[in-house]
Amino acid sequence: MTMGASRDGYGAALLKLASDPTVVVVEADLGKSTKSQNFRKVYPERTISLGISEQNMMLVSAGLATSGYKPFASTFAIFTERGFEQVRNGIARPNIPVHICGSHGGIHTGTDGSSAQSIEDLAIYRTLPNMLVIHPSDDISTEMLTIQLADMNSPSYTRTARNKTPRIYDADSASRLEIGKGVTLREGNDVAIIACGVMVSKSLDAAAELAKEGVEATVIDMHTIKPLDGELISNLASRCGAFVTVEDHSIIGGLGGAVAEHLSSNCPAPLERIGVKDHFGQSGGGDELLEKFGMGINHIIEASKVAIQRK
């Protein structure tokens, strides 16, 4: 099984985007970690280093964007939040196409501990009008989706992950990726497992285990959290009639929240949410923490069974 970290896909995408001379990279002293340094090494003249100043980074990017440039600004997911009000009032409100990438999202980030583990980024950025929110599952899809961002005329937030997880896509399957369209990775009629980020591969593993017990699950990579692919969810409501959402994020307001909102307004169906249950993280290994917080493969299997029983 090949492994990849979505942050590496971000670094690769920036290099591919570089042929567009208006693409610029903006950094806040975490380029080594977010992988924007890949771009800086080759295009130092188009890389703007601002030191450790996330609030500043947001509005410098907005100024660049209204002057004909396409800024890609990155830091850790958690530290983008330092500039949240700047993003809200300075980027989203005037609808300026700044592309923000928050790496090291989620508790899977690991031993740095709770201060570095953003479990609320998807939720808060999702509340902003005009904002696109994506959270790809591997390096290949991150690269493809980041490249698509360059053509968008509105701001975006992309969450990437620190650690390598099993690759979901190859060049061929990635070529069909489209922002705003969930990807059906496995089909089954008993339950729909909707996942994002590092939890997609865990969900596929859970579905394989469920199949051994005769339970057939659909698995969706919902890489775009906003705008949510409501049509796909409505179809799954009629087809499967039970849902599990799986995310390395708080169960409040993120993918689970978004799916719950769609279901309750359009096609009520039982939903179990796997994620961080309203507490902060702590130091530990990524997979160790997922197990401890009830987000492992077995927890997805159990949640699927509960969702089916509730039909």
Binding site: D29, K32, T111, G285
Partner: protein, 279 residues
Amino acid sequence: MSVDSDGRQIHSIEELEATAMLCRRGIVTMVHRANAGHPGGSLSAIDMLVALYKTRLNVDPSNPKDPERDRFIMSKGHASPAVYTILNEMGFISSADLETYRVLGGVCQGHVDMKWTPGVDFSAGSLGMGLSFGLGTALAARMDGSSRTSYVMLGDGELQEGQIWEAAMAAVHHEVNNLNVFVDRNRIQNDDFMDKQLRLFDVAAKWEGFGWAVRECDGHNMSELLSALEWMDSITDRPAVLIAHTIKGKGVSFMEDNPAFHGAAPNDEQLAQAMEELQ
């Protein structure tokens, strides 16, 4: 060991240097064991922490939450190994606790955390926040009519955060005289040397411009550090900042002045070499 007229223990320079050496060994060992962490900024800061904890800070390991304790706020919370080793030397945490650095359920979290570690006054990890917090504890002490003092340590990279200067302005406006700051001026941040990332130019002039009492010293020279602490005591009309010129990774040749060891662990061979050097 004897005591001075304020009842403080008097430590010889040699004793303090020996403690700092033990802490340095502890720092490198912890980061190696965890195979992650931040050795560079811990090794640059440790001499200041030893001088402060051993000769100044009024804290009691048997009563770590004493409301009348002095406060130490490690704003650059990634330098947690430095804090953990001095807390171990002071008796707040055990040597076994040091082995839990970055381990699931461990007392020693990746970044200093007041919920997990006795003796830690501030949950850090997000840079730029500690000076505001220290201003809060200093204002509270004044309102209480208490003589307790707040000490804050900042990274020089951390000075790039705007919030630092918001707090610096407010501290002078409010005329706090019980707030003392150490700037660990090691000239390196996460990605690279600060001069390549975002220059600070004249740091002392910046603080002076905000109205602080400013002094500079060699942050690895114990006697200079002790006189700087005396100097902090002597400033009674303003907050005081010590700009301590340091070497990131100090004490381990291959880590010294090397941005690669901001946030990387030594391998087994490097650990052995570091232990050879740290004698």
